[in-house]
Every structure is written in C-alpha cells, then in structure tokens.
Symmetry: none
Subunit: 206 residues, 4 copies
C-alpha cells in the first residue's frame, strides 16, 4: 500500500497525459482549482475517473505537472526568441517584447494558465504544486536583470525580478479576458510600465 506505483509515462500514455492536462487547464480556467473536480477533469478528458489516477497520483500532481508544462512551454517560447541573441546587448524595448510576447500568447491560448501562474492567492495544495513554476520564472527574470544591470546587488536584482513578475501576473487576467483591441491596448500599457520601471536601472552604471 506504499507509493510504489511507477505512474505510467510512456507511449500512448503521453497523449493521455496531455489530454488530461488540457482538460484540467480548461477547467481551472473556467471554475478554478478547487471547483475543478477530478471526476470532471476525467470526463472532459474523455476517460474514467479511475484512468486519471493511472497517470496522476492525485489532484495535486495534476497541478504540478501542469506547472511543469507551463515552465517548459514558456521556456521553449523564450528559448526560441532569445536564440543567439546576447541578452545584454539588446535594446530594452526589444528585450521586453521578446520576454512578454511569447508569455502573453501562451496565456491567451491557455487561459487556465493564470490559475497556476497568475494567481496570487491559492489553496496551500496548489501553492506547493506551483512553487517550482514561480521560482523558475523568477529565476529566469532575475538572470536577465542581472545581465543587464550587473551593478545591482543580488537582493536588489531579485526584488526587481519579483516586482516585474508580480506586475505581469497582475495584468494577465485582464489581458487574457479582453477582446483583441483592448488586449493590444493593455499590452502596450503593460510594456510601458515595465520599460518605465527597468530603464532607470540600466542607465545607472556602477
């Protein structure tokens, strides 16, 4: 009765897993984490409740896997964008575009993502499951900031990253919810905010 189940992760399993995560993401977007019942997730994924547990030990594990997929998803998007570009040498505007555009696009096409990423106050269970996501994102942003403003003390760099991340998180729900025109306008504002916040840091040499 211990916990020795391997939790299948092969072959056809991968597709199933993806379907389950899609279903969970959709439900999270619609009703939130707590109200998204595992039975409902299974039903939306087109499988039985029992099958769901063949792939995930419990509900928290779904959130966790989803988190990881989000980290991975944005990392890929960012990776592609930054390929062969020296972060340090980019104009700030361009850097912001490269960082935000894929992130926004990802959140718009996965509206449930904000439950995991954009949420600022969540059940303890969810918080534990998504902490790695938060930390990964914050770490990435900290790295960029450190590269651009090397004179900043580590604590200051991390705080700056936190501020940026929280701003983006805060803006995500209205951005995702808005129609195309309003979204474009909101994104413009968001970028203006970020630029206005980061620009002075870069100008201040040691």
């Amino acid at each position: 009765m211990a916990d020795t189940r391997p939790v299948r992760r092969q072959a056809r399993g991968e597709r199933r897993i993806a379907e389950i995560l899609d279903a969970a993401l959709g439900l999270f977007a619609e009703v939130g984490y707590d109200a998204a019942t595992t039975n409902a997730i299974a039903a939306r994924a087109g499988i039985s409740p029992g099958s769901l547990y063949q792939f995930f030990r419990n509900k928290e594990a779904i959130a966790q896997a989803l988190s990881e997929r989000l980290v991975e998803g944005t990392r890929k998007a960012h990776g592609a964008a930054f390929a062969d570009r020296p972060v340090a040498g980019l104009p700030l505007d361009e850097l912001i575009d490269l960082m935000l555009d894929p992130l926004i696009e990802f959140n718009v096409s996965n509206p449930g993502a904000k439950t995991l990423f954009g949420n600022t106050d969540m059940p303890a269970q969810l918080a534990a499951a998504t902490r790695p996501l938060h930390e990964a994102v914050t770490r990435r942003v900290t790295a960029v900031i450190t590269a651009r403003a090397p004179h900043l003390a580590p604590a200051a760099a991390e705080r700056t990253a936190t501020v940026v991340v929280q701003i983006v998180k805060g803006m995500m729900p209205p951005v995702v919810a808005a129609d195309d025109d309003e979204r474009a306008a909101l994104v413009t504002e968001l970028k203006r905010v970020i630029r206005g916040y980061l620009a002075p840091l870069e100008d201040t040499p040691a």
Copy 2:
C-alpha cells in the same frame, strides 16, 4: 420617521456581523476562501453555525459583505487622507503616498483582504461576490486619474486605472508576506513603478 428603533435594535447584530467578518477575514488569510469552512468561521466568531446563517444567507454572502466592508474601509482611509485636498493640485509623489499608504496598511493588518482584493483568479462564486469591490476601487482610481489627466479619453482613463489597480493587486501578496525591511523596499519599488507609469500622462497636456 416614527420608527427609529431598528438603529439601536440591531446594535448587537452589527457587532455579531463584524465578528463574523473578522473571523472570515482571518481564515481567508490563513487557508483561503475554499478551505475556510463556514463552521470554522462560526467557531472563530464564537457563535454556532446556526447563528451564522441568521446573519448571512450563505458563504458567498459573507464574502460579499466582506468586500463591501473593504470598500468602505479603504474609502474611509482615503477619505481621511484626501480631506480638503484638491486631488488635481497635489504633487504626484504625494498623491501616490496618499493612495497607497492607507491601502497597504489596511492589507497588512488584514492579510485576508488579499483573498478578496489581491486575488486575480478566483472561484466563480467569489468572483461574483467581490466584483463590486473591484469596480468600486477601479472607479475611484479612474476618478483620480481623470481629475489629474483630463485630456485622457474615458476609455483610456479607465484602462489606466485598471493597470494601476492590477499592479497594486499583483504586488500585494509579496508586500503583505514580507518582513518589515523587505516590505519597505518593495513598497518603494511599487511606488516607483506607479510614478513611472503615471507621470508621463500628466505631463502631456491636450
């Protein structure tokens, strides 16, 4: 005009209600909305579950009442701050202090408030209950912005307010969670962000 009894007759009821809302706020802060059971709220308020339902139709009504109390609370704080001050004539720095300081103080001493105000993705039930809070806050900010930058189109003013509000919301959880020193640093950053965002709007005359 003849019947002035209700005012006093409900005096005790008012206190009960306040106790319930305090209990709910505390529990929301500690475990979140879903995990805060009505029985636990009643227990913390020192009453029986049955009594709780004499004051609130259901759990959602508690969130709603709490929302209203928060609107009222921050309105009062702001009202006191702005008393006899022409919003339009204030230096931007001072305006930001006047708006944020009471809000932050309120959230710090009521950490549960972020569940209702700072949360960016919540169960449908909660979202419905707290919409009035969001709208009231956004309306107030819109009014200030319109007063300071009268050249802005109404839609732009409202969007600007939304951005400000979402930034503040996003920053609230880390601000509330931080220790005193880090909190001060974070608040400084937050104010810098807001100032950087609003300053250009005010300088641009029609």
Copy 3:
C-alpha cells in the same frame, strides 16, 4: 484543518455513540470489519453519514471505541463476579467459571465482539485499534495466573496467559455460532481444556 475537533461526548451524544457502536458491532458480526462501510453503520444506527463523523473521527476510531467498550464490559462483568473473592483461594473450577461465564455471555449477546476480540488475523488498522483490548485482557489473565501460581517466572506466566487467551479466542466463534445445547457442550469442553492446562501449574509449589 488540524485535528482539534473535540468529538462530542456529552448528554444525548452518549446515546448516539452507543447506537453507533451497536450498529458497528452488529455489522462487524455480519460482514466483518472491512465490509462494514461507514455509511452502512450510520444507516443502521439511524443517522446520516455526516452525523457519524460528528462522534468518530474515522472508521478506525469506531473500532477503537468498540474495543474500549468491550474491555469495560468484560471488566465490569468480571469485577462483579470477583467482588470480595480472593482469587488465590478459589477452587480452580470456580475460578474458571467466574472468568469464562461472563465473557461467553458477553460474546453471545454481542456476536460482533469476536471480530474485535476473537479475531486472530486482521487488517492493520483494526489490529492497531484493538491492541489495547488484547493487552488489557492478557494483562488481567496474567495477573490471575501470577496470583495462583506465584512460582512461575514472569515470562512463563505471561505465556500461559497468552495460551489461555488464544484458546478462548479460538473457541469463541463456534461457541457464539452454536445453538444452546451445542453451546453448552462446547463450553464444557472449553472449561475442561483450560482446567487441564492450568491445574498442573498450581500443584507445583516452589
């Protein structure tokens, strides 16, 4: 969400608890521990599933409380029987009657008791819950044996007690299941067994 529920135990509660334990005992007798669902226990007790959990934290707690009631029940029966009698001075036959008769009567009128007491191989959960019962009974028998055969080493006395207890346990199911005549015959045999086993020990002085 910790475990601070007092688990009511007063006034009307006592009757409820008794009803629940009766229901559990009956069901244990009929279908065994695992197959006795908490919902079935509640139904038989004439209450809802939710109510059951107002009195018992979980299924295991029911078994535990039942165990304690059995210890208490047999202790009372024995207590009454032994009142003012010097265990050491009693003829062996009489002692055996005094020990077994109440025990058998108790098990016959509570056929579920053998699930907790007479069972020799049980789910881990049940085993944990009933260990105190086993230990209490063995301790009591050890005390009697030590009083009657003071020359026995402690380990030997305890082993002797274990043997007696296991014999009685083993005999309980057929005794309980038999009709009146057959039961009388089985009890006669059982007493013969016990007497034959204990008699030599008492004759052997230091």
Copy 4:
C-alpha cells in the same frame, strides 16, 4: 484414454497458478485478505492483472484454490508422517507430534496460511471460500479421534475435533509470529494443552 495432452499442455498453466497462489499467500500474510489487491497479487506473481483472470474467475476463487492447496499440503505432510503407522496404536505424545509438527512447520513457512486457516472471523466471501479447508481438516481430526476413542458418539467425536482444531487455530498466530525460542516454548504449551484434553478420552473405555 486417447487424449493425454491436457496433462502436459497445462504444465505451464500449473506453474502460473502456483506462482499466483504463492503471491496471494504472501500478500495475505503481509496485509490480510481485503487489503491484498488482485493487481498486487498479479504484480507479485510477475504477470498482468488480465492474465490473473485467465486462471481465476475472481478474487474469491484465489482464496478457494489456496485453501485447497493448503488442504493438500497438510494432507501430504500428514500422509508422509503417518505412512504405515497404525494411528490407533501410537502413543498419544507421538501422535500429537505427528499431527502438529508438520502443520506448524507449514504455517511458519507460509505465514499467509493463517489468514485462511487460523483466522476465526473473516469476510463472508473468504469464509465461503475456506469452508472446505476447515471441513477437511476437521474431518481428518475427527477420523483420528474416532480411531483412538471409538467409544465416543459421533457428535462427541466431532465436537472434540472442533475443539482441537480451534485451539490450534487460536495458537497459530502467536506461534507464527514468535521468534524461535518463544515459538518452541509456545509449541510445548500447545502440545501440553492438547494432550491434557485428549488423554482422558482415550483412557475411558466404554
């Protein structure tokens, strides 16, 4: 007479069955009947859940087959012991050794056996499946007793057998659980009990 294939064709099947029964026995010993899931049995037997059901209609059938194997196992052990010995002419001590030693050895090396044999109160399903085992054992003991004490009425002989069997059952769990030294001591006691119980019957001629 023409078709002798089945015997060999099922050779591999026989091994599979044996492996499944071994797995079940082990699991029964470790966690009990209810907690021993069919999937776990299959896994321990090194086959898939589906394959298990090609050999056994359901879980109960496994218990039943295991019962039969135990009957067979002890019958063989006893058969070997009694070979060419006139049961009626043996000294009682020797008879008891011949009957108990193989049984104890068998249970010690198959600790799961007590779930089927030593258990005195089991789920209805299990009880049905193991009744043949109980009856076979009791029948065998009855036969021995009848042979040694022919003056006993059939009902008395059977009752005596029941008593002996239940005593042995009751002692099996502590015997199996004890370490070597304590086990030897317990077995000595057990044999003393049985001898003390049976001796008088043999001495009393009609």
